[in-house]
Symmetry: C2
Subunit: 137 residues, 2 copies
């Protein structure tokens, strides 16, 4: 059992931006790959700690979302870190399925080719988004 | 030699925030550890690609800075990735010295103890900041 008041205070003392958000870098616990970067507010970070599954605040849709709520591809939380400036969190997870709504294991599936100056796709999708996000399309 | 016009266009088409900034997650190429998260604008990202060393925009000091300009702890760039929303970059580097101005290898040196609800420091500093940042203190 965590001390909920202490936890709330710890979360409240992070540095959020003007919109009350903090970037969360989601990392695969085993491969250490950066899977995605999304935004949390105090409530979604608290929900992440308390449920052990990543919860975010969508800036485009202005609503809470749990990773995997549509796709089933939830992320189990193993560890949460913050930095020297307490304005970012890194969260180590065990991903269940792909992180990216485009179907890739990681959202960072494009690498800059410095010779051509263009992005190049790395790897192949694990699923077809049309099959997974049927309801929302 | 990169095609500079194409590169400039590629960099210009990323999604920057209202202040013209994009978060950059800096990762150790070998250990895959997240070393730091800082912000870049178009010019500092272009400088990062062209010099092969990480350059940022400081929000607190409102100026450009190259990682290592004071400490000598530069970061050699190996690869640059962007995500599905093109609003974040991940940069793999070889770090020369510590990433953190507090002296730690990574800025993310505090881990949340979910039992106590408090941050706990992991590891030990690689240097004493007072010795490295003499000029600015």
């Amino acid at each position: 059992m965590s001390d909920t008041n202490t936890l709330r205070e710890t979360i409240a003392t992070l540095k959020y931006d003007a919109a009350g958000l903090i970037p969360a870098v989601i990392v695969d616990k085993d491969t250490k790959a950066v899977l995605m970067v999304a935004y949390m507010n105090e409530s979604s970070l608290l929900a992440t700690v308390e449920t052990g599954k990543t919860h975010f605040w969508s800036r485009s849709r202005q609503k809470y979302w749990m990773k995997g709520e549509s796709s089933g591809h939830v992320q189990e939380v193993h560890a949460i870190y913050t930095d020297c400036d307490v304005d970012t969190v890194v969260i180590e997870v065990t991903p269940h399925g792909a992180a990216c709504h485009d179907g890739y294991y990681s959202c960072f599936y494009r690498r800059l080719n410095t010779s051509t100056g263009q992005w190049e796709t790395q790897g192949v999708p694990l699923f077809d988004p049309k099959d997974v996000y049927k309801k929302s399309q």
